[in-house]
Symmetry: C2
Subunit: 106 residues, 2 copies
């Protein structure tokens, strides 16, 4: 069972959940109210998010508050970072074409 951050954020509902609990922890029931789906479906999403450490549980009686582990997002950021220099320079505009031409010639 693959459980990495990239696979976790691939689902739009999970991205919405992440955004929803980013600033305040919420229970599965409270989260489910925001979506057109059952609590159990949300629960499954939360399990996936928990398994890849994007989300943390906090038990409080019979309620479980889920909160975002924002730090884990750094993993995605680190991957994107590799490409930031490409789009920030004008490399992607002009130089890439030149590189391609050079490449074709070999």
């Amino acid at each position: 069972m693959r459980r990495d951050v990239f696979q976790a954020i691939a689902d739009p509902t999970r991205r919405a959940i992440i955004l929803l609990i980013a600033f305040r922890a919420m229970t599965p029931n409270a989260i489910a109210e925001h979506f057109d789906t059952t609590r159990q479906a949300v629960s499954k999403h939360l399990r996936i998010l928990t398994e890849c450490r994007l989300v943390k549980q906090e038990h409080n009686g019979r309620e479980i508050y889920y909160q975002l582990e924002a730090d884990k997002m750094k993993e995605i950021d680190a991957w994107i970072e590799q490409f930031r220099k490409i789009w920030e320079s004008r490399f992607s505009e002009l130089d890439k074409v030149l590189l391609t031409l050079k490449n074709n010639k070999k």
Copy 2:
């Protein structure tokens, strides 16, 4: 058929392809040599990457060079951006706990 950037980068092979062609355009055959899979499988990944505009084709005779559209990655970056303030502040350390407690009391 869902074709968004987040789903595209969910697959590890596709992430590797993206990295591989980031700095120089490559043909499907050349790309496939780097992986333990068939050319056709790579071709399918390239189709997905093309459909969500992460990758661009450049025809050259019977060869097709695929190159990264780094700009498209900004979409992922923009989503991550929302959370950068959370992990950059110490919000995620102390204040989040306080917020949760406050939340539980309501």
